[in-house]
Amino acid sequence: MLKLSWWKWLCIVLIFYTLIEGFLGPVPALPILNETIRNLYFHVTMWFAMMILMTVSLVYSIKYLSKPLAHNDTVAEMSAKVGMLFGIIGILTGMIWAKNTWGAYWVNDAKLNGAAAALLVYTAYFILRNAIEDETKRARISSVYAIFAFTLMMVFIMVLPRMTDSLHPGNGGNPGFSTYDLDANMRKVFYPAVLGFTLLGIWIMQLKINIKKLQHFNDEQ
């Protein structure tokens, strides 16, 4: 029998709950949105997970600068990698949703541009990491960039869209799902889904960290 810690079991249960309940459970019948409202469980949760992973990356970069351990840098790097994966999936699910409700895969919108910019920052972070040979130097310089860029990115994603009108729910006079669309039935799936996908992200991250540590160990032998 596979030995997994409790939160991994919780993750498996929550993901399956999200999949089953998300596709089969009752949802409010709303015009235009129709059944695409189910995408809420997958698209929005991706961004929640990405923001949490970006915060992890930010925190571990700060930790690295105050205490330069290789572990801190590895966590920062891997959480950024998994965060980028979630960001890409978030953009793709969002594009499918946008095509079906707004009629186009991409619209010029503050929130969408913020999402694209978040992926740009991640890409820049990885390019910087590749440009530095020396390991400790790479860790230090990329930590500095991560703190600088991720902080500004959070401002860009969280503050600026609230200043303008937006098609996207939750901005500029356009109410978020929480106000009326998200009824009690949907909440029962949505919050577990957020937790489930975040745990999945942490799980992937943990595996990647272990792989990197083993590779490192192998190189030293």
Binding site: L65, A117, L120, V121, A124, I127, L128, A131, I132, E133, K137, R140, I141, S143, V144, Y145, I147, F148, A149, T151, L152, M153, V155, F156, V159, L160, M163
Partner: protein, 220 residues
């Protein structure tokens, strides 16, 4: 008191350094002129105000990247060792940001004049537009000085500054463009005030981050 005099002498040094090697400075001026001239030749006449505004800020963005790119690359190992033994990192970053902000403000103002000469001038509120120029220069300078310090620590790849800089500059660039657009349209101050405050906050955030993080870049 001593800190101020140190920072001041570093700013003077930056200025002398640029002034002595005129090729760099005249290269930037040429860049401003050439890009505006190219826009003039390709657009003939820009009547649309949003286009005028965006075009202007995109040119200023590229000018800023070119002007600030070399700031850390040019300094030799020996000079850095000299700094290390006599100065604190705060002196370096503060003096560089101030110098680049002033340089960028001069270049942006000059750019605005050249732009006016070739492409006309739709600006209605000059006071707000100069404020946009000033705040834009300060935020470009603080962002790019910091990014240039990061890029100079990596292998010498000239494209790295642009790659690292663009995503970081996006927030200030979008707010500056909006602020400047309202200034050109001559909207009331009450409309533009939120953007002004947001821009100030963003600047304060960037400056605080640069001030806190630069010491970690500095020690080799």
């Amino acid at each position: 008191m001593q800190n101020t005099s140190k920072i001041f002498s570093l700013i003077i040094k930056e200025y002398r350094y640029d002034w002595r090697s005129r090729s760099a400075l005249s290269g930037i001026l040429m860049y401003v002129f050439a890009t505006v001239f190219i826009c003039y030749l390709s657009f003939k006449n820009v009547i649309d105000i949003p286009t005028w505004n965006s075009l202007f800020w995109i040119i200023i963005l590229f000018v800023a990247i070119n002007a600030i790119a070399k700031s850390f690359m040019a300094e030799s190992q020996a000079l850095q060792l000299f700094y290390y033994s006599f100065l604190s990192p705060y002196h370096i970053i503060v003096s560089k940001i101030i110098y680049h902000a002033v340089l960028m403000f001069v270049l942006a103002t000059l750019g605005a004049f050249i732009f006016t000469f070739f492409l006309g001038n739709p600006v209605q509120s000059y006071l707000q537009f100069s404020l946009a120029l000033l705040l834009g220069s300060v935020s470009f300078s603080s962002c790019l000085t910091m990014i240039s310090a990061i890029a100079s620590r990596a292998t010498n790849n000239p494209a790295l500054l642009a790659v690292l800089g663009f995503p970081v500059l996006l927030p200030v660039l979008t707010v500056t463009i909006r602020f400047s657009k309202n200034a050109i349209d001559g909207l009331a101050w009450s409309v533009n005030q939120p953007y002004f405050i947001l821009l100030l906050c963003l600047n304060a955030l960037i400056l605080a981050l640069a001030y806190l993080l630069f010491p970690y870049l500095w020690r080799e």
